[in-house]
Assembly symmetry: C2
């Protein structure tokens, strides 16, 4: 799996950081899950050479414009690109996302020529499972913001297996039914008399991958459990710790608060995003973006600062 | 005055052409009037180094998303940039624009910390004056599209005067009250005995400038009168004349239809915009963007093809 950050700014876009969106890319299936969709997300996807038709699911953390104003345009363009043949799309998020999309379609006479299924988080629910398939499930957790805002955890359900095709080729094993049997970990007798054990051709990854992607939030104690043991935690860090009062007042976080969550949850890596434009190099403030990273790294060493179009493999 | 094209594509953005928007810039007053606001317009304004606080009025031609999906984000960012001190903004357009903005604010909990005055075109009106001030007025005309779509004409009301300051300096006339009197075209007696006639220091421009900016439309006979004698007509040309059937079916224009309007209205210059992505160089179609320009120039020589961030002085 691979993540591409499409927008890493907060509130309003700048030339360096567009508003919130990130793409989770499943290499095997050539499919994309999008998390949030601020204005200009479809343009960012073009810059990243990611086709709209590959987007299979969109998860919205909360309704604020810097996370949703790109949704109507993206959905409309996906239809223009793919026409009626564009495949079905699923959208997950707080209940209000459904009202938002219905009203936009109605008022602006926008028509999506492919099926859209909207599955919303029940009004009184603070955590649960919003989506489940054979290999993955997605949990949600309500965070601590001035509108309903959620974190999503994408969790692998089973250990992954990798068939060692090169090993099979080197042993001159003929492709076809024999390969399939080996992949199933069966024992195989070849016409030339050799006996092969399927398990010798399978590499297993015991670690089930888990990625946690948070919406806007102040420090949330519940997130520590929710993110427990994750390979990657993506958390907002809108304000510097020097402006923690502003963070608290506006229900946002600082690098220090995010790093505390990462440490307490025992995650492997932390990426900070949703960075305020006040810290960019054109502004004359004392604190710069590099300082945000340092603030977090003092508490949690394996912290990174997101940048637009940055890729991260898991 | 100067025009900067912010988005010159049609329907969906491409890497070369964002969706519709253009800025009319009044050099004297440092103010901007925006015409349409497709998704990503605020990002385009940043690329053109135009501040949101300078936007004084926004004219919306019609409600379709590729002309309006950037409006909520732009208005929100204008507040974040300027805070409560951001000056008043006026928005003009079809009635539905008011519903659109009210619902977006309500659903996404977006707050604009400065006054917004929305003045809509009366439901049954096909033409009239929507705005008037000392030096300019703005007329509207209903076009021929599948939703209510309008053209706007920005017309200078009086002849312009230019004070020949260099001439005054060369004659060693002291600045201050004498300059003011000359600007008023008064007769002035200098202490050294010279008698000056104000009119000798004024250059007059008899031509009152007129710019016509059209929303989406098929060929509109009414537009010929409306655009009569304009310095500049900005008209859509979504499809090539080779696909005139598509243009007609979708209530759009071709370069040939736009050029006929320009010729019949006796305008000075025509700029084609709202260009379909099907003609860009990455597509393998027979017709290219250069061909669109040629189609129009065969009928109206002084035609230009808009490009994103292109500037045009009037």
């Amino acid at each position: 799996m691979k993540i591409i950050f499409l927008g890493t700014g907060s509130g309003m876009p700048t030339l360096e950081r567009n508003v919130s969106a990130l793409a989770l890319i499943f290499k095997e299936k050539n499919k994309i899950w999008l998390f949030d969709c601020g204005e200009g997300t479809q343009q960012q996807l073009q810059k990243a050479a990611l086709k709209l038709s590959r987007i299979e699911k969109i998860f919205i953390t909360h309704i604020h414009g810097d996370h949703t104003f790109g949704l109507p345009g993206l959905l409309a363009s996906r239809g223009l690109q793919g026409g009626k043949e564009a495949n079905k799309l699923q959208i997950f998020g707080p209940e209000i996302v459904e009202d938002y999309l219905n009203l936009i379609q109605d008022i602006t006479r926008t028509y999506f020529p492919y099926p859209i299924e909207i599955k919303t988080i029940p009004a009184d629910s603070t955590q649960g499972i919003i989506y489940e398939e054979e290999k993955f499930l997605v949990r949600y957790l309500k965070l601590f913001h001035n509108v309903k805002s959620f974190a999503y955890a994408v969790e692998e359900k089973k250990e992954r297996k990798h068939f060692l095709i090169e090993k099979a080729r080197q042993l001159n094993i003929p492709p076809g039914p024999v390969y399939r049997a080996l992949k199933n970990e069966d024992r195989v007798c070849l016409p030339d008399g050799r006996v092969l054990e399927g398990k010798d051709f399978i590499e297993k990854f015991a670690q089930k991958r888990k990625i946690v992607i948070c919406g806007d939030t102040y420090y949330s104690q519940e997130l520590v459990n929710f993110a427990q043991g994750a390979d990657l935690l993506i958390h907002e860090a809108t304000f510097s710790q020097k402006e923690e009062d502003l963070a608290q007042k506006n229900f946002h976080s600082t690098p220090v608060l995010a790093a505390k969550i990462a440490r307490e949850a025992g995650v492997k890596e932390l990426i900070l995003t949703h960075i305020s434009s006040r810290y960019n190099s054109r502004n004359k403030g004392e604190v710069k973006e590099e300082d945000l990273l340092k603030e977090a790294q003092e508490i949690f060493k394996d912290t990174f600062l997101a940048r637009d179009l940055m890729e991260f493999s898991i």
